[in-house]
Amino acid sequence: MALRIVLALFTLVLAITMLGLLIVRMRPILRAMASARQVVRWDQPLYRIRSTAAQVFGHKRLLRQRLSGILHLFIFSGFVVLLLDIIETIGQLVYPEFSIGPVLGFLVDCFVLLVLAGVVLALYQRKVLHPKRFEGSDEKDGELILGMITLIVVGIAIHNSFFRLLEHPVFGMTTSADGHFLSYLLDPLWVRLGWGTPMAASIGYSVGYALDIGTILWFLAYLPTSKHLHVFFGAPAVFFRKLGTPGRFLPTATEVHSSGDSGISATRDMTVQPIQSFADMTWRDVLDLFTCTECGRCQDVCPAHQAGQPLSPKMLILDLRDALVQQTRGVESSVVRSLSLAGDVISAETLWSCTTCGACQEACPVFIEHVPKIVGLRAALVERGEVEERPQEVLEHWGEERNAYGKMPETRPAWRNRVTYHFKDLRRESAEWLWFVGDVASFDNDLGVARSVDAIATLLGGAGLDVGLLYDWEGSSGNDVLRMGEYGLFEQLATENMRAMERAQFERVLTSDPHSFNALRNDYPQLGFKKPIYHYSQVLQQLMTEGKVAPTHSLGIRATFHDPCYLGRWNQVFEAPRDILRRCGVDIVEMPRSFANSFCCGAGGGRMWMNEAGMKERPSEARIREALELPGVTHFVVSCPKDMVMYSAAVTALGCQDRLSVVDVGELVLESTGWQFARTSAS
């Protein structure tokens, strides 16, 4: 009885202390979330519940990395099952004969072993394998947590085994089978060591109890200062993630509360807000900062980080979190408040390194949204005018000439002179399709880009598709502008394009550039544009299905296909280009990083227009090296003009033109049809 009272008092005092500490430590975090800007993420509640269950209990994303996923699954599931042990242990303090039963008892001991196995695997991963993604993470924190977990499960085994020795002499119970099979193994050991006496067993039980319950309470109080806060915030972060097409950057009307600001609509206000301080972040952004598990998966897949640039998505989140923690502590608040997030806490070089490829978000097991934060911080730099010379020049071109190249708008359709097919002039006549050609396809002097545009034009013409162009009414779609943080300019470009498209008569839009495809498909609708948008690979796939474009012979080549970020990851279009290639008789060999895990060419998010200072290896060159590893692959197939520019340069830089040709999907389709390039110049 005395033992139970002592342990109950110990538990009560410790619980009050630790839970009090937990509340004190959690309050500023929750207060920061409460005072942040509002965003609504309650749509599709049933889907959210289902997918959260799949991610949390099924470890859907975590298991993409096998070892990490399995060891985390062991530890996580062990913790869920060990809740039963807590119930049993606390219950036995009140009523010693309380038991969860032999089956659950057996289960608890099984999971004790699984958790221990998980801890061993985690230590093996950290100490032996030591993956690079852990660089920058607080490894001591991780090791401390692993130590705590070990103490808890060892404590369970200890107090359960000593409980059996105390059942009769101390608690006055008749011995019963409880399913804790580890006790049967440990009891003889304690007896052999001379710890079978009631006094020694009481001490042993108390030690085991303290290790188990005491460490759990300590763990709870420690969590708010640790990366393991994801224990609390992981599931909410998954539940409240952005749904729908990943490429949508502007929020939908349902996502936004009315801001009440003068004259600015709520939707615009949410988007236009540059992140100058934490007050400009949404509660979701704050949640992200404290949910980060420091696993480094984002860092591992980041093309900027791999290129040796200063950006690490993980460190960006951690630096923001540390700054917010400092701010909430008060002592240093005046200093921290005087610093701006963009430029001081996160350097401008770091922010401009991002290609907005979204690989970090795709890899994150707790669905942290890195890209919107980076764009928001970039917007703060843009508003302060802190833009490098070259991108500044390009932004000015976008503002004045409506294209990145600073060319006269009337020269936009100059490429049309190379092909014989007559595209309708949508400024004067109507057509079924509008071909939104985009800046790079229209203006870049890369020969590969010219080849691909010509091939697409020939295929569309040959298939008899009713296609028109906007000619000089077309301006840049603004996809890169928006992701460079210049929302005002994006709005200006989008408004002008939408005005032009409203005046023109057409049914649907096809784009040659996945970046334009993304902006028109995902961002323009938030501003009121409603027309179906297709990437040319989808159109070609349809034309082939209808028999309007029919391959006459198999190409018989071995090729690898590069998924453009803004077609694949951001818009989930993976199959159309592959299907086309297969129909043309192309043997597709996938690169290790393909589909949603594709590796960025390095041109997105405005990076195409920025300097490459400090870059160790261009992402495009790393990608070409990856393709060169594939046996027998002779063609590197792209479906984006920017990819064509970047990879053509990379192949040239690596000097492997004789081993690998960079070709567009359209070129291969054209070749398989046997149609000739319809060029005016040949005449």
Partner: protein, 299 residues
């Protein structure tokens, strides 16, 4: 420190064609929405840097309606006051001395410490003439300023860096008041976002001060435009890629066929083209091209 910056508008790049430039110079048409002249952007940046984060500066422009664009950008850069000088007879056009006298007359009635002017060529006469009319020192080709000396009533000055020819730089000490001129690119200007620009446009309507200048009646008429001859079109060839382009672009430019590209607008029938065919056909095409370019005789 009270800083005044003089800014002026230019044609937007899409309109910078010979016919438009001719019309602009001959008619001084107010129907075009102008853009800030590039050297004036550097001047604005210098004025902003001189004023410091807490200080403000005054922006002044002259001409007709198109100079509003310059004042809008100036406001977006942080100018607290915007002044629009105009002359009833439109004499602020081609005569540098007349412009300088008008500016000096306006400045002389106020107490500015520094007047900053953009100067696209670096040797334009207006800043020096303004300084001459005011009796102030002038420092041209300003590249930056290093530090302020202790400001007291007896000695108020600024240490300036000048960028000279052939890479030389010079530090000079200039006592207030002083006229400074800066060339485009000497002071890297900050970007002005569309949002800031829009806010400036909203604020400009109520904050611009219109000043009508008197007609000069000292007996010497200003220079009057008689004729305008556009430059002869010529082909520029770039032997080396643009130093500001990315490494990938430079590499491509060096290794690819674009090393010597024509900058002039390609005619429709002479644009870049790709010819495909047999070896004989390609050889004939090559010969035809060489003859056309007069590398080979037609015989």
């Amino acid at each position: 420190m009270k800083v005044l910056v003089c800014v002026r508008s230019d044609l937007p790049a899409p309109m910078a064609r010979v016919d438009n430039i001719q019309r602009l110079m001959e008619e001084w048409s107010a129907e075009w929405a102008g853009v800030l002249e590039p050297s004036c952007r550097s001047a604005l940046q210098l004025a902003k840097d001189l004023s410091g984060p807490s200080g403000g500066f005054t922006a002044l422009s002259y001409g007709r309606g198109e100079c509003r664009a310059a004042l809008e950008v100036a406001r977006a850069y942080g100018a607290v006051d915007a002044v629009h000088l105009q002359s009833a007879e439109g004499s602020l056009r081609h005569d540098g001395n007349t412009i300088a006298r008008a500016l000096a007359a306006w400045v002389g009635e106020r107490s500015f410490d520094v007047v900053v002017c953009g100067n696209s060529s670096g040797v334009g006469p207006v800043p020096a003439l303004v300084a001459g009319h005011l009796g102030w020192p002038v420092v041209t080709r300003v590249d930056g300023f290093k530090k302020f000396l202790p400001q007291d009533d007896s000695f108020r000055a600024i240490e300036l860096t000048q960028r000279l020819d052939a890479g030389w730089k010079r530090q000079v000490l200039a006592r207030y008041p002083v006229v400074l001129s800066v060339q485009s690119g000497f002071i890297p200007p900050q970007y002005v976002s569309v949002r800031r620009r829009k806010e400036a446009v909203h604020g400009l309507a109520s904050n611009v001060t219109e000043c009508e200048l008197p007609v000069w009646t000292d007996g010497h008429a200003p220079a009057v435009l008689q004729a305008l001859t556009p430059p002869k079109p010529r082909t520029k060839r770039t032997a080396v890629p643009d130093a500001k382009s990315s490494a990938a672009d430079r590499l491509k430019s060096l290794m690819g066929p674009a090393a010597t590209k024509k900058v002039e607008k390609p005619k429709e029938d002479e644009g870049p083209r790709v010819v495909e065919g047999s070896a004989v056909e390609l050889a004939e095409e090559l010969l035809r091209f060489l003859r056309k370019k007069e590398f080979l005789s037609n015989s």
